[in-house]
């Protein structure tokens, strides 16, 4: 198993008191497997991603990524896990504004210390970004930025890709194309994919689909 989630609980304190977002969640993901996480707003999908990435810690339970218990690691070990094992595709892209497209695409691979030029070129080409290398993020359309964000993650060959509504800013046709690419490329790089989406249509194209409701697998 590349990912094991075992009895994870998480609450947030908001203006109306404590809200339980995840309530004893169990989930497994095998290496190379793709899984869609669906559910209504507030069902805890995005929270789960942040917990898996080690950006936040669960109140209870265990999250194992690649044999390591994420929520037992210290900050630098969690950072190392994100750098080398987990790849994040953000809803807001979070490109680095002062780096051009080429540098953004290579950035995570360089952080991970495994920049593989032929693979990077292949990813860049297949995402249709070859001609945009010298542009800066602010000079790209939303769709182009989305592809750069995906390319940045894939180029680093993580064992587990966490994607939060990666096609949320795209129309249906474009979203299909991008998803095709993502599935294809993650298959080629042997990565497992955990994708949060609203869309049942897109979710259906992944190996498995899990629906969250009130912080549990429905």
């Amino acid at each position: 198993m590349i990912l094991t989630i075992d009895g994870v609980r998480k609450s947030f304190t908001g203006p109306e008191g404590s809200v339980r977002v995840l309530d004893g969640l169990h989930l497994d993901l095998a290496a190379g497997e793709t899984l869609a996480l669906t559910g209504e707003s507030g069902s805890g999908k995005s929270t789960l991603l942040t917990l898996v990435a080690g950006l936040d810690a669960p109140d209870e339970g265990r999250i194992m990524v690649s044999g390591q218990q994420v929520n037992a690691l210290d900050d630098s070990a969690r950072a190392a896990l994100r750098r080398t094992t987990v790849g994040l595709v953000f809803q807001q892209f979070n490109l680095i504004p002062s780096l051009n497209v080429a540098a953004n695409l290579a950035f995570q691979a360089r952080l991970a210390g495994r920049l593989d030029m032929p693979w990077l070129e292949e990813v860049t080409g297949r995402l249709g970004l070859s001609d945009l290398g010298n542009r800066y993020p602010e000079q790209l359309s939303g769709g182009q930025q989305q592809r750069v964000a995906i390319g940045r993650t894939l180029a680093a060959r993580p064992a587990l890709i966490l994607a939060d509504e990666p096609t949320g800013n795209l129309d249906e046709a474009a979203a299909d194309r991008v998803l095709d690419l993502m599935l294809e490329l993650s298959r080629d790089s042997g990565a497992a994919l955990l994708m949060v989406t609203h869309s049942k249509r897109l979710a259906g194209r992944l190996d498995r689909r899990v629906h969250l409701s009130r912080g549990r697998v429905a």
Binding site: L55, D75, S76, L88, N94, I96, F107, L111
Partner: protein, 808 residues
Amino acid sequence: MWRATAGVLASHWRRHPGQTATLLLGLALATALWTGVQAINAEARASYDRAADVVTQNGRPVIRDPSGADIPLEIYVALRRAGWPVAPVVEGRADIAGRDVTLIGIDPLSAPVLPAAEPTEGSATPETDTEGLIAFIGPPGRLMAAPETAARLRGALSQDVLNTPDIAPGTAIGDIGIVSQLLGLQNVITRMIVVADPPAHAPPLAQLAPGLEQLAPEAGADMAGLTGSFHLNLTAFGLLSFTVGLFIVHGAIGLAFEQRRGMFRTIRALGVPARTLGVLVAIELAIIATLAGAVGVGLGYVIAAALLPDVAATLRGLYGAPASGALALRPSWVAAGFAMAWLGTGIAAAQALWRMARLPLLESAQPRAWALASSASQTRQALAGLGILCVGAFAGWLADGLVAGFTALGGLLLGAALGLPWVLARGLAFAERRARAPLTEWFWADTRQQLPGLSLALMALMLALAANIGVSTMVGSFRGTFTGWLDQRLAAEIYLDAGTEDRADEIRTWLDPQVDAILPQVWTEAELGGEPATLRGLPNHATYRDNWPLLTPASGVWNALERGEGILINEQFARRTGTSTGDVVRLDDWTAPVLAVYSDYGNPGAEAAVGLRLFSQLHPNVPQVRFAVRLPVADAPKMVEALQNEFALGADQMRDQAALKALSLEIFERTFAVTGALNVLTLGVAAVAMLTSLLTLATQRLPQVAPIWAMGLGRTQIARLELLRSALLALGTAVCAIPVGLALAWVLLAVVNVAAFGWRLPMQVFPSDWVGLTALALLAALAAAALPARRLGRRPPADLLKVFANDR
């Protein structure tokens, strides 16, 4: 990972050269201002010490013949052989190459302080002290003179003439043997300096040389207080510029973090540990601080070099023996400059790094300007400011002395600055409540929202303005007072010292038909309220009625004084003992009513004045040998010359005070010019700080103005509103700065000055200056806002649209 992360950090500065430039500029300017003031201070002090030492031999007493006659050399030898540590001096005027030169001869084996000459040109190795001594004594010997004098003398004499900036123009110093020969003096000297207190076994002077008198050091003592004020002025400026600089550095560094908040979060999420990022950012800041510090020290050098000639001229005029106008690179102020850059960056970075370490990884990646400066923290900050203000006030009120004065000064500045955002926010909230039209309401609310982002720049602006008002109030008060003091002290055209009563009578008889008035100058030691004091006799003459600087003018004072009904006392005594007009005070055996208090700047001791007639009755034995001579100003130089020819009065016995006064005033005007230039610079730096803040905010303004644009407000109109906003904030800041500046001036005049010198300068306010300054502040703010506003006004609509596209 390290290289990739460092590359990202660097890419930000490469991608935004404007931001890089403003950050460096802000840091460099703060450093420059501070360094410049430090450099001027250090140089002026060094020069001042040297010059004062050379001229007065560190203020040592002098032995001379009361009549001004030469002293036989045997008497010097007798004093030395009796154990008196005296140094012989010959002084006289000689016509060399058609020019009148004052020659001063000293014995290097007994004079403790010699001026420092500039190295001789062309000599490959510096000569040793021994070689220097032997060359100085000669033959042929050496002379030392100010460069311009040296140039004139060179070639006209067989002696080598060294450039020595510490010597007054028109004067040359040489070995006593050489100078005696040039002056044609044999076996006589002019005076002796008592270089150390005589040992116990040495017989008293009266026994060894009955005809001679020992005078307490005179030169410089009068002016020391005023020069002290001048330095204090610069020191205060140094402190103010440091505070202003700290705020600017803080603002610049804070912005550099704010601009990159989103990027920091992203790279943390991509797997860069917090520690790695912290270390890299610290290194980055150190590099920036060092770069900017170097530029700043260089700029500071330029500022100092530009202003120093005036400072040197000031000191030169005060002492007649000058400070050097040349600027040496002193480690002290170079270090001070870098310390400013590093310390400022360090303080600012500590806070920023702390915030960065706690940066929540999950928050929205959108930059939120000064998120922490919420209304609650504004209040907290204002309360802290109030606390600091209280501490400062408490220090100024409870404790005495300079430390308390400067604590009060620091507390006032810092406290007022911290309170500013709260005050402005309250003002804006008030305006918002009063607003009727929706656009006006939006304008006030939006301005209030901008406030946190601008507050550091506004604080810097307020400090600059307050410093300006404070210092110009102090300087203005100082100028007014100083002019009055000069009028009092130098009211007559010529002051002369006849030495003996016989000569005095002779000179008086000769002068009487030629001048308007001859006013005896008499004083003696007395006991005033139980403490030793000087008692003066003032002749009944308009010179005093019109000019004597009474702090509490009252009608009839002068008539009462003339009738011997009371005394005048000086401010120092009045302040120390709490005596005021109408009180009585014990003067020797007489319980005297105090008629008035007069200002007596630069005098550390107690002093009282009575009418001359009464003085003569009280002290019939005090001879009248010194006179102030009144005559038309234009005739003074001729009269000085005539007196010289007729009675051979030496340079130390007679002074054309009108010329001296004119020179002093001119010099003080130059001092004020230095202060003025520094004022403008400080304001300029604050304007740059504002520009930096506004430029940064402008990039974050789009999402805030886009809805307004969408609702139908033109881009030009939005830009105009931006300008208006800056102007209004600057105006509010200026209004707040006026009371702070006045308080600052009050602390300088009433606490720091009194602590330092024992006298208080009456504060004079100059409201027209405030108007000018406010206008200047508005101008600075508008200039700073112009560029961002113009950019906003020209922003293509597509950019504004994008806000909606991207803003989910």
